[in-house]
């Protein structure tokens, strides 16, 4: 059985709890970005772009046979890509309703809360909104 969103969050917080300077944290974020699965070329379309980021970010979700959602994401900036990878590491392959109702607090807990202000050029808030919106569509369908 899959781990729950809450479990995955806790594990992520655990990982970051060993890192106390920004450099190590960013290195881990960048690594997450690098390990993100390749983004299907056919999804690199304007309608999948998340607005509000200085770099371009694409997020797409597909419903799998078991009802879980599988997300693909990409960005042309590696830190943004790392941030979206962190988000996906928690939300990927979960049930739509779980995603919609999940409480996300790990960004504050791992010391990246400042990335969540609405003006942050990385658009993290917008990415999370998109991920949840996608889940919402599938929840209804």
């Amino acid at each position: 059985m899959n781990k729950s969103i809450a479990q995955l969050q806790d594990e992520l917080i655990e990982v970051f709890s060993f890192l106390d300077d920004w450099e190590d944290k960013y290195s881990v974020i960048i690594d997450y970005g690098k390990q993100l699965l390749p983004f299907p070329e056919e999804f690199k379309r304007d309608e999948f772009i998340v607005k509000g980021c200085q770099s371009r970010v694409w997020v797409v979700g597909e419903k799998m046979e078991n009802g879980d959602i599988h997300y693909h994401a990409d960005s042309d900036a590696i830190i943004t890509k790392g941030l979206v990878a962190l988000v996906l590491s928690i939300f990927n392959n979960q049930k739509p309703s779980e995603i919609v109702h999940a409480n996300l607090d790990f960004f504050e807990k791992i010391g990246l809360g400042s990335h969540l202000t609405p003006t942050r050029a990385n658009g993290l808030l917008e990415m999370i909104k998109r991920v949840k919106n996608i889940a919402q569509t599938f929840e209804k369908s």
């Binding site: 200085q54 400042s114 202000t117 609405p118 003006t119 942050r120 050029a121 990385n122």
Partner: protein, 408 residues
């Protein structure tokens, strides 16, 4: 929320720090511009000392903070106007620019030759000249609703005017020269009935009462920060989203674009489509404090206080036989316009100035009103929340003195 004029005065440094010809300042020129509470003044300094950066463009922390604070003003103003959509708030440099923007962009999108624009005889030049220019550019007709001897809209004449193909109405809520509070809802409803759009000039309203833009339901609403305890260099245009969306941009340049090539340029969405260039950042950020100041006082009680001052001043001046009043509606903000018969307003202003009292004399940017009342100008004393009974009494005594010196 209680209303204590002394507590309010303490928040306005100029009231204790300024002297005029060696006398304490009595500031009765509030319709021209209001004074600023120290919270606003300090916010400007604080911005420049700790977070000055250009907005909307930077990844760096300073720029992010400035942008956040900048946009927070938009959000706070949206709440202040009873929860309108923040993206329908356009920052401009003042009421005048807001009107110019609408007079430029609205006709291009919506009007055609032969359509008429209705204004009133009591408008500020800022709400006359841009429409005259628009009429010239687009072949429109300019109609004018006359005012009565009391300084009120002559609503008897409205129906006939509305039959004349009126597609747009531009009128002020409150007259800056006469103080009349116009029956604005009547005009909004009249516009709705004939399917015309309406712009309300709120420049003189916002310093005196709370605006519930949602229930007013005008199509455009314009005002200036400096007349509501805010900084100079900042104004606002509030508009209906569906209209703003269809109107072409006004000034163009950075920020308001989506993509620029030499062949073709596409524009950004609201509100940025109408905001170009580096904005008045310190001004916008500090204006939040003006709103917070307004939120700490009961504007209803403030209005009572102002009305009391107005009544006292009016009664006092009535004792002077040479005084004539202009604007005698029952519905007025605390603006008192008068002349001494046979005396030029400039002379009265000069005498009062010597006694430390700042009133305005002249045509108040409303020459048609001067033509209507056949005077070269008027004396105008306009009171705000921080003015006191003692100041009003001193003012009455001073006008008496002026009458004695000038009317013999």
């Amino acid at each position: 929320m209680d209303f204590d004029v002394n507590l309010i005065r303490q928040q306005f440094p100029i009231l204790s720090e300024a002297t005029v010809h060696g006398k304490p300042l009595v500031y009765f020129d509030n319709a021209a511009t209001t004074q600023k509470p120290s919270s606003v003044i300090d916010a400007i300094s604080h911005y420049y000392r700790t977070e000055n950066a250009n907005v909307h463009r930077g990844v760096h922390d300073l720029s992010q903070r400035a942008t956040l604070n900048f946009e927070n003003t938009r959000n706070e103003l949206a709440r202040y106007l009873e929860n309108i959509d923040p993206k329908t708030i356009i920052f401009t440099k003042g009421t005048t620019e807001s009107i110019n923007l609408v007079a430029h962009s609205y006709p291009i999108a919506f009007l055609k030759p032969g359509d008429a624009i209705l204004i009133t005889e009591m408008e500020h030049h800022a709400n006359i000249v841009p429409w005259q220019m628009a009429c010239e550019r687009h072949g429109l007709e300019l109609l004018v609703l006359p005012i009565t001897e009391k300084g009120e809209w002559d609503l008897n004449q409205l129906p006939a005017l509305l039959e004349k193909n009126v597609k747009f109405i531009a009128c002020s809520w409150v007259s800056n020269a006469l103080g009349t509070i116009n029956p604005i809802q009547t005009m909004v409803d009249a516009a709705r009935k004939i399917g015309a759009k309406i712009l309300v000039d709120g420049a003189q309203a916002v310093g005196h009462f709370k605006i519930d833009f949602k229930s007013l339901d005008a199509d455009f609403f314009v005002f200036s920060a400096h007349k509501m305890f805010g900084p100079t260099g900042l104004g606002f245009l509030i508009g209906k989203e569906e209209l703003l969306d269809q109107m072409p941009p006004y000034q163009t340049g950075g920020e308001m674009i989506q993509e620029v090539t030499f062949e073709k340029t596409t524009f950004n969405g609201l509100p940025f489509k109408f905001e170009t260039g580096t904005p008045a950042i310190a001004e916008v950020i500090s204006f939040q404090k003006s709103l917070q100041f307004l939120n700490t006082i009961s504007l209803e009680k403030a209005h009572q206080h102002e009305s009391m001052l107005l009544k006292r001043a009016t009664d006092g001046l009535k004792e002077i036989p040479e005084v004539v009043f202009f604007g005698t509606s029952e519905q007025k903000v605390s603006v008192l316009s008068f002349n001494l018969i046979g005396v030029h307003p400039f002379d009265v202003g000069t005498i009062l100035d010597q006694r430390g009292i700042a009133i305005r004399t002249g045509h108040h940017c409303t020459q048609p009103i001067m033509q209507k009342f056949k005077v070269p100008g008027m004396c105008r004393a306009s009171f705000s929340i921080y003015n006191t009974i003692e100041e009003v009494d001193y003012f009455i005594e001073s006008v008496k003195k002026a009458a004695k010196m000038l009317c013999s």
